[in-house]
């Protein structure tokens, strides 16, 4: 940065704000993780203390791995998230391409209709969705969750991606048309690679709510075979007794996959968010 714009006080202030925010955001995660390594007594005696030699206990993790089929829950969460993400990105990008690239009657209305889902939470339709799933025999299947999450993720995906696709050079697409590329090739080979940062942004914003969701797994797929990790952790929360060690251990474990996915996308994400802002 240039000397003229550099000020120690300002830099310090900015970092102070950022660090404060980081601490607030990470604190619950930190408490969850440290307490998952402590004995039950230690959790209640001093929740904020780090696990020491006297309080260190892996009983939570042992319970989690012994009781219930946690590996299956992980697998369920993972497949629901990954498959939904794939559909959201593919259909979202295709719809965005059509909206941004082709002139047709009702283009604007269609765009508004697709964006409406950003403002209206899908949970308002839970009863109707449940009726639909019962009628089509999809209750207690992962397909039910995948369908719902795809619908939930599409509006934002279409909205963000169509904005980005409008910025892809029209000349490039036209050059492809003159060279005899099909519209599909233009979409997959020319346009998609150029909006990759936006795709990563959409992926992260779609991924996290799906992974963390408790509502739809609880309603649509509560069976043992289709439980997701967030729902699986709930077995340790009872009406009268809660196995905190196990709950905290399960939640700590649940952070890991989403963290890995986030790290994969984050490099692209930063480029996506700053694209246009910084030329």
């Amino acid at each position: 940065m240039s000397q003229a714009r550099h000020s120690t006080a300002r830099t310090f202030g900015a970092h102070a704000i950022l660090i404060t925010y980081t601490v607030i955001a990470l604190f619950p995660v930190f408490v969850t993780v440290i307490n998952s390594f402590k004995s039950r007594k230690a959790i209640f005696a001093d929740p904020l203390a780090l696990p020491g030699p006297a309080t260190f206990d892996l009983v939570g993790y042992q319970t989690v791995l012994k009781q219930g089929d946690f590996f299956q829950y992980f697998l369920n969460s993972m497949s629901v998230t990954v498959v939904s993400l794939f559909f959201v990105l593919m259909f979202g990008a295709m719809a965005a391409f059509a909206l941004s690239e082709y002139r047709f009657r009702g283009n604007l209305l269609m765009g508004l209709y697709l964006a409406l889902g950003i403002m209206i939470p899908i949970r308002l339709g839970t009863v109707a969705i449940l009726q639909m799933m019962v009628a089509s025999g999809l209750v207690n299947t992962l397909t039910a969750l995948i369908l719902v999450y795809t619908a939930q993720g599409l509006p934002l995906a279409v909205f963000i991606l169509s904005e980005f696709m409008r910025n892809v050079s029209a000349d490039l697409k036209n050059a492809g048309r003159i060279d005899g590329l099909s519209e599909y090739t233009i979409f997959f080979r020319l346009v998609l690679p150029l909006v990759r940062p936006a795709m990563a942004t959409v992926a992260v914003f779609t991924l996290i709510p799906i992974w963390n969701d408790l509502w739809f797994p609880l309603i649509l797929a509560p069976s043992e075979a289709t439980k997701t990790i967030t729902l699986g952790s709930q077995v340790f929360i009872g009406q009268f007794v809660t196995n905190w060690n196990a709950v905290l251990a399960a939640l700590s474990l649940a952070i890991v996959p989403v963290l890995v996915l986030y790290l994969i996308f984050s490099r692209q994400l930063i480029r996506g968010i700053t694209a246009g802002a910084v030329k």
């Binding site: 050079s169 000349d171 490039l172 036209n174 050059a175 492809g176 048309r177 003159i178 060279d179 005899g180 590329l181 080979r189 020319l190 690679p193 150029l194």
Partner: protein, 332 residues
Amino acid sequence: MGTLNLTKVTKSFGATDVIKGVDLTVNDGEFCVFVGPSGCGKSTLLRMIAGLEDVSSGDVMIDGRRVNDVAPAKREIAMVFQSYALYPHLTVRDNMGLALKQAGVPKAEIAQATDKAAAMLSLDALMERRPAELSGGQRQRVAIGRAIVRRPKLFLFDEPLSNLDAALRVQTRIEIARLHRDLGATMIYVTHDQVEAMTLADRIVVLRAGRVEQVGAPMELYNNPANTFVAGFIGSPQMNFLNGEALGLRAATVGVRPEHLTLDRGAGKLVAKVSHLEKLGGETLVYVVNPTHGLITIRLFGEHEFAVDEEISLNYDENKLFFFDEDGQRLY
């Protein structure tokens, strides 16, 4: 081979008419330039020839075949874009060869065609690079190379020099002219720059607001413009338009080119005050103001010195005047 016929071609976006009936024939081997101010529809017309925009009515014929409903790739055309539009994920070689690959041409033939085009444009050393590793001028040469490789019936250029800096623009302009001579191909070139139009064209098509104002060879348009629009658009600096009646001439508007005005320190036909001076070395542009005629430009060769607000008198040769009626149409 490559002739183009446009018959009563129109284009509307909703209620807006962008192209209002264009009739035009471009002969085989001709270099035809569409020129006009921005928004006159020249790029839209080119894109209609390419098949990137639908034709609302009328016929587009390439080599006698009606191509209104033919896909761009099947029209046997090639286009060079202002923004180069190279495929970012392909090397120079693959960029140039893609169209042939799509058409199912054997590999050996593609390699031969790309190598030949590369040699023509001295791109040999860059063949394995990607577009991101090239400079603007090199990218535009690759884009031109991509067009040559296809051996099209028509070359379409959409303001190909607009993104280049001034020196490179002149150089590439010469290169395109040389290419036209070597290939003998039909080329259609869109620009808003009348200098490019004058230097490259066999024939210039001047467009305004979706209509053809005049078609002709560069010198024909310069010496014999049909109306004030063409007269003002062709030639730089712009033609001066004087009030005919005030000069005692039988025309509403009288046009005189800056290079046809002469300075007369004694008794000229017009008296004006110097308002600004542009010294370019080889020539000097003098801007003078006359109360009846407004700003007048004079182009003098060599170096001259004037003081601002100095009063000077001007002379013109009556044989070099252009006479226009109230509607801007040429009288004689």
